[in-house]
Each structure stands twice: as structure tokens, then as C-alpha cells.
Homo-oligomer: 258 residues x 2
Amino acid sequence: MIIVKLGGSVISDKKVEFSFREDVVRRIAREIAEFFPEKRFMIVHGGGSFGHPLAKKFRIREGLTDDSKRFGFSATHLAMLDLSGRIVRAFLDEGLPAFPVSTSSVFVTENGEVVHGDLTVVEMLLGLGFIPVLFGDVSVDVKKGIDILSGDQIIAYLARKLRPEKVIFLMDVGGIYAGKPGEASLVEKLRPGDIEGLIERLSGAAGIDVTGGIANKLRKAREIAEYSEVWFVNGLVPGRLAGAIRGDTTGTVVSKRP
Amino acid sequence: MIIVKLGGSVISDKKVEFSFREDVVRRIAREIAEFFPEKRFMIVHGGGSFGHPLAKKFRIREGLTDDSKRFGFSATHLAMLDLSGRIVRAFLDEGLPAFPVSTSSVFVTENGEVVHGDLTVVEMLLGLGFIPVLFGDVSVDVKKGIDILSGDQIIAYLARKLRPEKVIFLMDVGGIYAGKPGEASLVEKLRPGDIEGLIERLSGAAGIDVTGGIANKLRKAREIAEYSEVWFVNGLVPGRLAGAIRGDTTGTVVSKRP
């Protein structure tokens, strides 16, 4: 089984609210269809320009600080259901039996990580030949009441529980760079043990924001690489996903094996 | 905590596909808002003209008999997410913090009944002051692969696990009748022990379809009445729901107590 992460910046233009790149998602579906059902897949997608602006507007990460927060919590989830529905429909149109599983219905968080999750339905769906589709979502939280559960944290949890053969992160850049994309060189192979050093070097490089996305992604990749191969490839370039599934393409591979 | 079932024939016109009675749902929300948050609520709604036509068209109840079934399974769930989203939005607009929980993400069925369900998220949502909204939905099934889980079966399961003080079924008729609605008299009070006899009498009466909805509803009411009071009232008549919450209205009450 292969987990494919559809990054928010791949499936939508983050600068335009509620923009959905249907053509990109359908092309991604077609690349998966080349290998399905011989290989099994799970999809996890990010919030893109659907979930992020609302989560920020309603300050969901602050927790359930007042009564009005509940309305923002619901509104953010409804936006994610909208995005997820569009992705599932694009997959169905390309002949793939995708089925959406509502992340917030299944997982409970603490400090942004999954502390409770019942994977019974997800595992049954996989066994029945479906492609389960999960997504970054709002979450009920044991400490803060409410929070956000990111797609990358879900993937780390799923990888630990389900042991996929491979996890492929689709991004809007070519992989992991040793500095600024476009200026620094692509890191083609990474050992899990080299990741903390890389994050430190990136923190030193001016202008690289390691507080958010990429440092978290790299640390999650280090966790996942304990049992699965991890790929970072450009999801906007046709063929890169298919290449990562086959195991020969331009991108970054994180692997314990030499 | 009170569970309110929004019958499919209350929230939509079953004769018109994808028709949604927003005015009715908003009025129902306003009746609940008279009592919230002093009383806690959960909503379960039926498929109405969203889920039913698709479930029938794709013959979901036959199970996973061939590959094409998976597409109908997904399409039926997407239609239910659409309906549920509209209900949640109507509740939010009336100031109620509703939050949708995807039934198919949480429950596994066998013979149309819940055999596995993780209520952690639902219970946490209730504790945090939300109104969880569940719905009749498609389900993964341990025997048939896929099936339908009706709102009434979910309610029986939730009532057994969560012991609400009351369960209120909103219908498009005034309650349970001793024969055809409009011809026979309304049964105002029912003991759980009288229910099988009533179903038998109704089966005898010409033209009463007891194979489907009403017999199932009455049998579920008998189960639920072991620990909760059960009301059947007309959800299309303003004030009946509020009356059932208070405990004084026209309708049918099923109760163990005299």
C-alpha cells in the first residue's frame, strides 16, 4: 500500500481562496490509475486555500477559548468536506474508487498529534478495494478542546499503524533542497540520521522558514523512514508521481537502506 | 441529552430529487435553540431525496457484488455529505454549534445494524458544547462488504450507548396511528410491550406498509424505551418539537412508565 500526500499547494492556488486545480488532481488520479488496483493506495490531502484561510481567520489553533470558536470550527470542517468532495469526484471521474473518510470524525489530538484514532473503517475500505481519502482537518483535542490536525501528522500516524511500502509527498517544488529552492541544489538521497543536521543548516540559511511546513515534514519523514521509503516529488510536473511509484524519478528519497 | 431524528420526509420532499426544505430545518433549529445549551442535543437525519434515490439506483443494499458498486457507494455518501452540510449550515445560521460526524467513517454494520462504532469523537463533541449531526449513510459491512446504515438503527445504537433522556422522531404525520393516518386514530401512549401487537394489527390493515419504515421505527422505539422516553411528532407543524422537548404536545409517547 502506498500513501500519497496531495500537498495543499499542489491541489489549489494558496493565494486564491477556494481555488481548486481540478486538471492537476485529475492528472494525478490518472498517474495512480496506471498502477491501481495491482498496488493499493491511500490519499491524504492538505487544506490548501480551503481550510487554511478559515483555520487562520477563526484562530482554531488557539483552542476553544470562547463560544464563538465552535462556529469557526464547523465552518472550517465544511470547507474541508467541500475540497475533499471535489478530489473524490475527480478520482471517480478517472475510474478510481475513492471514498472520503472525515478525519475529524475519527481522530482525537493532543499537541497537534493523533492520540486516539480508530482505523477499523479505513482498513476495511482498503481491504474492499477502495482508495480511502483523508485530509488535514479540525480536531477535537484532549487539552485545548479544539485544534487542527495536519495532513502530515495524519500520515505519520497512518504509516506507523499501517506500514505502507512507500509514502509520497507531492509538493509544488522538486523535492528537498539544501537551501532556497531555485538557488540551492536538490538533495536526492537522505538518510534519516542526516535530517536534523539538514534542518539546522536550513535554519541558518537566510530566508528559509523552518518553523512551519518543511521542518515538520522532514521530521515526520524521519519517523516514517523507520519502516517505509519516503519520497518528495513535484506534483505539478506530469510523470513525477508515476516515477516515484515506480521508484525512478527526480526528487528526494528518504530511506534507511543505502 | 436529547436525540432528535430529522426524518427524510421532513427535511426534503421525497418526490423531488435533491430538494431541501431549508425553511423547515431553520424553524426546527429555532425550536431547539429555545432549550440549548441548558439541554444538550444530538441530531440524526435521514437520507430524504438525497441518499434514497442513489442508494436505490446503485442497489447498495445488495452489497459489493461487482466493481462498479464502489462508485455508487461513494456517490451516495457524497450526496449525504451535501445534505448534512446544508443542515449544519442552517443550524449555524440559527446560532446552534452543529458539527457533522460522517456516519460511514465511524460505524461498521452487519445485517443493517451497527456492530462496531467508536463514539469517542461524538462524546467529546457533546462534552465541548457542540451538537453532533449524524445521518443515515452508506456503511462498510462485515458480511456484504457494503450496505446502508439507516438513521433509525444509528439512533438505537446511540441510545443504548449514551442513554439520552429522550429521543424525538420528527415525521411528516402526527405520530403513530392505529391504522392509516387520516383514517385511524392517533395512538397517544404506547407501552413497549404493546408494540408487537400494534405492528401485527397494522400488518392486517389493508394498505399499511409495515415492511419498511414504521415497523422498524416501532421496534427500535421498543428497544430505546428500555432507557429513554420516545416521542413521535409531526416535524412539519411548528411547535410540536418544542412541545415534545417540554413533554406536552400532540404525538405518540412510548414509555415504560405509566
